[in-house]
């Protein structure tokens, strides 16, 4: 609390001249091997302001936050806190400098009380050096008063809502002398009332001249709460605007504004009959009222922000997860729910998001992985024909040009791109009618990426229906015949290839529906 007093005194003197930023990062670079996650990060946070940071998935926001939090060290660039150049080696360094990050889902100790959680590791001591519970409770109460919320400091943390947990984290940060609070998508899991309460807390802190960095995908929140907005794209700083001088359209344009060139060898294939028909699919708390069709020869992209429920819909369609309502029809017949086997037998394939955990059995050999989907087909009277199994694996590895010296090596020894080819190979080997590809090019090199794109296009051309989930807008725009956009578990737009633009998709993905029309 001394820190806040200090803040207040400081802000009294700040009247003359422009306020000095509490935190300033400029020209920040962070690379992981050959992957540059942050090419040019810039941000400055003034005392007494709420500053929004917006950008697509992969724009470099998380990397920037992790640099602020002391989790990553800068490769290049300048980082000043309170006018002094800093280089954090750990989260503790960042905390000591007065920066605190509030994550989407805080992790409190469930068995400790609220007050104990706030003061863990630095409990106020009374006589004889014992912890003074009374002092701790009083301090917690004071903190909540300061934030303008009411939470009982004596109750245990278990069972608190995420909103309450976030506020406890904020209280903890303030008590540790934080002058800059970074809130990483704090509202994603909150209800309307809770969001409003969090905003009130943020405004109170602003009035007490703390600096707040607010990261959100929701433009209504950004515009309602924040004083300035910084836009990032592809790991680079694009611009900073004073909120009152800018429109949602301008921000969206800056977020996505890049050329979607002829990178994607998209051939519009003749569209055939409906292969997959999803009607009113819903799963409580995950997605609701999802209705769409995919026809033979068509690439339908499922776009939206991370967490919009796209993968969850795909998993339910394929039978990995159950669903509560609605139907999935495949080639005219209703598909048995919650049975991947039924889906595969009907002619579906699923190239999942997480190649290492879901797509492949990493310790199994390349050959066995490739033939895993064929295990029933290479058997006669229940006994596997080993020669046919190996022949199929070799054949499909060759078709997809999987580079390995031996089919017998564990698939984990291959590169990411080659692993993805094995995943594709094992599904193409089943001769599917419908293929779900979830983030098909995540984490693979540029060369293989365009191979995969060509492959998808080619498959559609051969009459396979494809549902592609992708968080990369260029990929969506380049590959899709139709784009279905989801936001918070619901479909918010269905756009034809002609209608799909970065702006229209982004608007639907952030659910500013009226502007999308």
């Amino acid at each position: 609390m001394e820190a806040l007093d200090a803040m207040q005194t400081e802000s009294l003197h700040a009247g003359d001249g422009p306020p000095r930023p509490r935190l300033a990062l400029s020209g920040a670079v962070k690379a992981f091997g050959p992957v540059v996650a942050l090419a040019d990060g810039n941000i400055d946070i003034l005392p007494g302001e709420i500053h929004a940071l917006v950008g697509e998935n992969g724009a470099g926001k998380s990397t920037l936050v992790k640099i602020l939090a002391g989790l990553y060290r800068l490769d290049a660039g300048e980082f000043h806190v309170g006018g002094q150049s800093v280089s954090f080696r750990s989260v503790a360094d960042s905390k000591a400098a007065g920066i605190s990050v509030i994550y989407q889902e805080p992790t409190l100790f469930p068995d400790l009380t609220v007050a104990e959680n706030i003061f863990i590791g630095r409990q106020p001591k009374g006589r004889l050096g014992l912890i003074s519970r009374a002092a701790m409770r009083q301090a917690a109460r004071d903190l909540f008063d300061q934030l303008g919320v009411r939470i009982d400091p004596n109750r245990v943390a278990e069972g608190l809502s995420i909103a309450d947990q976030q506020i406890i984290e904020i209280a903890k940060a303030i008590s540790q002398g934080a002058t800059v609070l970074v809130m990483d998508e704090p509202t994603a899991a909150l209800s309307g009332v809770e969001v409003e309460r969090l905003f009130q807390v943020a405004r109170n802190l602003r009035a007490q001249s703390a600096g707040i960095l607010f990261i959100s995908h929701r433009f209504d929140e950004v515009f309602a709460l924040c004083d300035r907005i910084t836009v990032m794209r592809d790991g680079r700083y694009i611009a900073t605007h004073v909120t009152s001088t800018v429109t949602v359209d301008a921000i969206v344009h800056e977020m996505v504004g890049r050329d979607v060139g002829a990178l994607f060898p998209k051939v519009v294939a003749p569209v055939g009959d409906t292969v997959l028909s999803v009607k009113g699919l819903g799963r409580a708390g995950v997605f609701a009222d999802v209705t769409f069709d995919v026809r033979a020869g068509e690439v339908v992209a499922l776009a939206g922000l991370v967490g919009a429920g796209r993968t969850e819909v795909a998993r339910a369609v394929f039978g990995i997860d159950p669903y509560d309502r609605g139907t999935v029809e495949f080639a005219g017949t209703r598909l048995r729910p919650h049975s991947p086997k039924a889906a595969i037998d009907a002619g579906m394939g699923f190239v999942p998001e997480d190649r290492r955990k879901q797509g492949l059995v990493m310790n199994l050999s390349v050959g066995r992985n490739t033939a895993l989907t064929l295990r029933d087909r290479v058997a006669r009277f229940g006994i596997i024909n080993g020669r046919a199994e190996r022949a199929a694996a070799v054949e499909w590895s060759r078709r997809l040009q999987v580079k390995t010296t031996s089919q017998e090596y564990a698939v984990s020894t291959l590169s990411g791109g080659n692993q993805q080819k094995v995943v594709l190979a094992k599904w193409l080997a089943t001769d599917p009618k419908f293929l779900i590809v979830d983030e098909p090019t995540r984490g693979i090199d540029v060369g293989t990426k365009s191979e995969v794109h060509r492959l998808i296009s080619d498959l559609a051309n051969r009459g396979i229906a494809i549902l592609m989930i992708s968080s990369e807008l260029p990929e969506v725009l380049g590959m899709a015949d139709r784009v279905i956009v989801m936001h918070e578990g619901r479909i918010t737009a269905e756009l034809s290839r002609a209608e799909a633009t970065p702006e229209s998709i982004m608007h639907a993905a952030t659910a500013s529906l009226e502007r999308a029309q």
Binding site: P340, I344, K357, T373, R398, E451, D458
Partner: protein
Amino acid sequence: MSEPGSSTTRSSPVTPADKISSLDTRLIDTTKTLPTEPKGRTGAARILLGRDAIMIYLLLAFVLYASIAIPRFASPVTVGFLLLDVIPVLLIAMPMTLVIITGEIDLSVASIAGLTSALMGVLWESGLDIGVVLAISLFAGVVAGAFNGFLIAVAGLPSLAVTIGTLALYRGLALVVIGDNAVANFPPGLTAFFTSKIGATGIPTVMIGVVVVALFFGVLLHLTPFGRGLYAIGFSKEAATFVGIRVSRAKFWLYVGTGSVSALAGIYWTLRYSSARSDNASGLELTVIAAVLLGGVSIFGGTGSIPGVIAGVLLIGTINFSLRLERISDVVLIMVTGSLLIASVVAPSVFEALQRWRHGRRMHKTLPQVPASGATSATAPGVQERK
């Protein structure tokens, strides 16, 4: 499928060989790929050169050594007693191999054998026909296994906890069933049959049944789609689910398998010693698991083979038997088994390190001739063209 009469109608059964030959090969560009191994090692070579072969060679080496070094070792009598001793472990080790390959465990097997034995005693004493007694006892094993399977596969409880529980539960039930009594008056013809030998070979007649069980589980694990699925489950349940493997169902049936084979072992035990007691086969679960691990099955799941496990069981059995012939005390025996077990757990990692080193060298030699991945084309996704 857009047109009727498409050449790839799913309903028509297509054997893989037909399928591959009927694919449009014109589009395949093989010139730029690394030569993939043209043909993998076939059946016999795979077994003779594979990693599990080490256990088989070790066994052969030890048998050879024992035959030369221990005077009374190489005789039909030795073979007979050794196999009679080893049969219960060998039996239970078969389904246990499959269970451990999926990354689970079953500690209740010996208790199931004990329960079966107790049940046999009580039912026989009550005057039932021996055929009925055997059938009911076997069925009890099936039920006991199904109960484990239900708790593990359907309720999703951890197998270690569940089977520690049923280890105590089934042994307790055995005691409830028969108390401190022992029943010994089984039909003499039957008990004699269980210790009889095939001609002068010294091989027990019941080995025929054991071989059938071993063949069944060997084929199930190595040659069926179900078996392929078990390896995948052992490494990654999630990835297995994504290729349509029914993980829970597979696990359930494996526990039914361990339950019923444990019952067979219990029946064998009772008739071989002509004694039905509640404490029959007690502690056997650890011997079985030790032998399975020694046979090259990874406790973490995913690797192992039936031939390897058979060799492991026989190796432990042979070592124990020869030590006993040399009148070496049981304490040493236990220590030897323990050391072997530790060695067998360490060995695979050494082997793996060696393989990685070899792989690294091979990659180093071949890679420079490989064109960059971006330069190759992927025009042939190899899906049959629809006319």
